[in-house]
Subunit: 212 residues, 2 copies
């Protein structure tokens, strides 16, 4: 890995998870090698786009002869930081938090859900997918005793910034935020905001194109 | 609206919901005009990128003097097809389906949840956010009597393709798919796949950058 990665455009980064998912499917199907042409048809991206994307990371070699699927899968996983386990906690065990706590795809990608937190007596103590829901009051104590890499916030808007501050102070490096708020941090943690309605808006655009 | 829109790159389309959300916040704050410079700082995109993006749709005018927030908001909403109501049904009322049925942001963007379907006796008949859960068996009957623009699929992988086929046969034009499967359609409907683990992978990349 080298410092040049800092210049990788955000759009290229956004495509890496898709490549990674697709390569994972190829591996499962025991496919060992794929040409950039075949990869491009499957991914619905031009072959030249794929080569450009991969060139940001040194190219991953062997054009013409094709890409070694396992090598490419591991290399992209390394760039994304997926080859070591990311201990992940969920704060807010409502319907969405519960759905995420049971989401098999997270663990498959190395995001191991290690703890759940909520402030409602209704869910504290419940066991969900092997984890007992803890009180939010115990958050700092838990983080001081257990490595936590990522926190997923599925709490009401009003609590999001306060919880993000507590997480960053406790040394958590990444927050996945499902509340519709702009989180502010001091730059010592990474934030990724998920807006579920964006996908509906994109779909709505695609539907309009059908009719034109 | 003109036919040129078909050539708009997917990355530009992906940015439109973000512009739309941000402009909605400006409107709420009663801000009437914004320069491309100020918009660019807030959105963390270059001003030239914003101008390039908007040029795909005719530019939305007034550079130097700034953009009229309400005009821009309506114009982007029109491009995205948000200015008329999209009747939306959810199929699969597990934790994720329930979270989406209660997700306020959908209705705010014109996606009105009009019906819920599940095949489990445990949830059929339950009322969630004003909608009674119906049996999946009633799907075709419901669609023949009520306009349905979009279906959100939050069902197990194994049922996804069959349900998508039934929806497309019934004339539904858009499917938002939360199951990790590649849906096939005959091209008469638009599909948008949501991969919740992609956002965690992007976050993981950002965390790695912090440490470098």
């Amino acid at each position: 890995m080298n410092g040049n990665e800092r210049q990788v455009p955000a759009v290229v980064i956004k495509r890496l998870p898709r490549y990674y998912r697709y390569l994972s499917d190829l591996l499962k199907a025991d496919i060992k090698r794929i040409s950039s042409g075949a990869l491009s048809r499957k991914m619905n991206v031009t072959a030249s786009q794929i080569r450009q994307d991969f060139n940001y990371f040194g190219g991953f070699g062997q054009q013409g002869y094709g890409y070694n699927v396992e090598h490419l899968y591991r290399a992209i996983g390394d760039i994304l930081g997926l080859n070591s386990r990311n201990n992940t906690v969920i704060i807010g065990v409502g319907n969405l938090g519960m759905a995420l706590a049971n989401h098999g795809a997270f663990e498959k990608r190395g995001f191991k859900i290690t703890a759940l937190f909520d402030n409602s007596e209704k869910v504290i103590g419940r066991v969900i997918n092997g984890n007992t829901v803890r009180a939010v009051d115990e958050l700092e104590d838990y983080i001081s005793k257990n490595r936590v890499d990522i926190a997923i916030l599925t709490v009401p808007k009003a609590s999001t910034q306060e919880l993000a501050d507590r997480l960053v102070r406790s040394g958590v490096k990444g927050i996945l935020n499902f509340s519709y708020t702009e989180l502010k941090t001091d730059g010592s943690a990474a934030i990724e905001n998920v807006h579920l309605s964006d996908s509906l808006m994109t779909l709505s655009y695609k539907i309009k194109q059908l009719g034109e």
